[in-house]
């Protein structure tokens, strides 16, 4: 086939390609200049200057953040974390832009500095603290259920805690605190499976693909209540031990943005002082219950 197309048209094609690459090099040249210009300031100043803050979250984690499909596009994501995001944006005097993503994408978008904040019920883990700045804790599960185990009702009398999991399959959300708990606090298990969304883990237990899911107890209870036919239950008596120093749900901030972290911590202090997060949490727990069928 090589002989079929005329020489002339190829000269033209080469010209076009050269033009294209010239344009490309011009474009990249420009952009590197832009990056230098924006690197001169820190992210907090950049946010204030551009007039909006971009907050990422995985909206499948009621009551922290979840979707109410009956609302309009921009208002669909609701939850206690959304209220916190609104509060922060208001305090900074900027517009709030929510960006919903899958959990692994939430984490990578912050470590890559693509977005400003991750407010997605993030707990402290050493790996996260290494890859990003983490704010102070803004929510402490002291008076509320923490992290535990979700099982099938038939295992009610057999599985009482992590010691009973020797020949069982465990599932937890990849990159989550629950994953860390399983690795550190479950002495022995048959297999450990990881999923991208917590709700997929619930399903696996329900369908018998796993025996136990390491979960946030309050979220799992919402699922159990919404699906009475699923035959699932949360192990009442058991809770994973949370290290005091690393306790609390936090905000993820791109690495090295200390000015922004400081400002966010100030705002969190205010929220804690007024105790409003607890109110949001209660409000949206009730809200989430109304959404089921």
């Amino acid at each position: 086939m090589k002989r079929v197309i005329g020489r002339k048209s190829y000269k033209r094609l080469v010209f076009i390609v050269l033009l294209f690459s010239l344009m490309a090099s011009f474009i990249t040249g420009c952009s590197s200049k832009d990056v230098e210009a924006s690197q001169a300031k820190n992210r907090l100043e950049a946010i204030l200057e551009r007039g909006y803050i971009e907050v990422v979250m995985e909206p499948y984690f009621a009551p922290f953040e979840f979707i109410d499909p009956s609302r309009d596009g921009g208002e669909q994501i609701v939850g206690a974390d959304v209220e916190l995001a609104k509060y922060i944006a208001e305090k900074l005097g900027v517009e709030l832009r929510l960006v919903p993503l899958e959990f692994s994408a939430v984490l990578s978008s912050i470590t890559e500095g693509k977005y400003d904040l991750a407010i997605s019920a993030l707990s402290y883990t050493p790996a996260r603290a290494e890859a990003m700045n983490m704010s102070k804790g803004y929510y402490f599960a002291e008076n509320n259920p923490g992290y535990g185990l979700l099982i099938r009702e038939e295992d009610k009398d057999i599985i009482k805690g992590p010691a009973d999991l020797v020949d069982r399959v465990i599932v937890a959300q990849s990159g989550s605190l629950q994953e860390l708990f399983v690795l550190e606090q479950v002495p022995a298990y048959k297999e450990f499976k990881r999923v991208s969304a917590t709700t997929d883990g619930f399903l696996m237990v329900q369908e018998g693909k796993a025996d136990v899911a390491a979960v946030s107890k309050s979220m799992a209870q919402l699922y159990v209540d919404a699906n009475p036919a699923a035959g699932l239950m949360v192990v009442e008596e058991f809770e994973f031990v949370v290290d005091k120093s690393t306790q609390g749900t936090r905000i993820g901030i791109p690495k090295g943005e200390d000015e922004l972290t400081e400002r966010i911590n100030e705002i969190i202090d205010e929220v804690l002082e007024r105790g409003i997060y607890e109110d949001w949490y209660r409000e949206y727990t009730e809200y989430a219950k109304t959404l089921g069928l």
Binding site: M1, K2, R3, V4, I5, G6, Y10, L13, V14, V17, I27, T28, C30, S31, D34, V35, P59, Y60, A62, F66, I67, D68, P69, Q76, V99, P100, L101, E102, A105, S108, S109, E112, K114, A197, T199, D200, F202, L203, L222, Y223, A226, N227, L291, G292, L293
Partner: protein
């Protein structure tokens, strides 16, 4: 189960319909742009010029040799940084889908053209036809018959691949599934609904393709 599916549809039908429209929209853009870009790449690959050949080999090799999800993440993270103007997440993902699909389209077109028997070209030449005429009147009509059915299959898999955009929360069918699932905690019924919509969509297209192929064969 069936009653749950019906209830779910009654309550959240608009979410699924929005998702369907999104899927159709992303597929249409991807199919259209990938066909154009893929044709260009195929022409470059068939050229005599060494540099173009290298370039297209690397292009196709990279895109076919890495998973599409990896490419989506890569474009999503890198493209907005590399470009001087603001590029939305949606645009980055669509570009990634187009670029990925273009490599497959290019291979389909290249293979279709090269599958035309050499004897046909030699015969045309011996009759004194010019290069241009040989390509336009002898090679292209036969190549198109090779290309179109394969291209149709490619389009169907492109439609299914747009579902990967749900990782980045683009409005399409798999995102509808996740949206309803997260609100109601009903996963399997929601999956069934989305599955049925996909099946309807692809079977209509497959049927259309079969009819089209039959028409192509009619003048043989």
């Amino acid at each position: 189960m069936v009653s749950t599916i019906i209830k779910l549809w009654q309550k959240y039908d608009y979410v699924y319909i929005e998702g369907l429209l999104g899927t159709l929209w992303f597929s249409a853009i991807t199919v259209f742009a990938a066909t154009l870009l893929g044709t260009l790449i195929a022409v470059m690959k068939l050229s005599k010029i060494k540099v173009l050949d290298w370039f297209t080999n690397i292009y196709i090799g990279l895109l076919r040799g890495t998973p599409i999800l990896l490419q989506l993440y890569f474009f999503w993270l890198v493209l907005p940084k590399a470009l001087p103007f603001e590029l939305s997440d949606t645009a980055s993902i669509i570009i990634a889908l187009i670029v990925n699909a273009s490599s497959y389209v290019a291979e389909v077109i290249r293979a279709g053209i090269q599958a035309v028997d050499k004897g046909q070209i030699e015969a045309a030449k011996s009759l004194g036809m010019s290069n241009k005429n040989t390509f336009r009147r002898i090679v292209l009509p036969q190549a198109i018959k090779n290309i179109l059915p394969a291209l149709g299959n490619q389009y169907i898999s492109m439609i299914k691949q747009t579902s990967l955009a749900s990782v980045f929360f683009l409005q399409e069918l798999m995102t509808s599934y996740k949206t309803v699932q997260s609100a109601t905690f009903q996963a399997v019924p929601s999956l069934v609904i989305v599955g049925i919509i996909y099946l309807l969509l692809t079977s209509v297209l497959t049927k259309g393709l079969t009819l089209f192929e039959r028409r192509l064969q009619a003048n043989e």
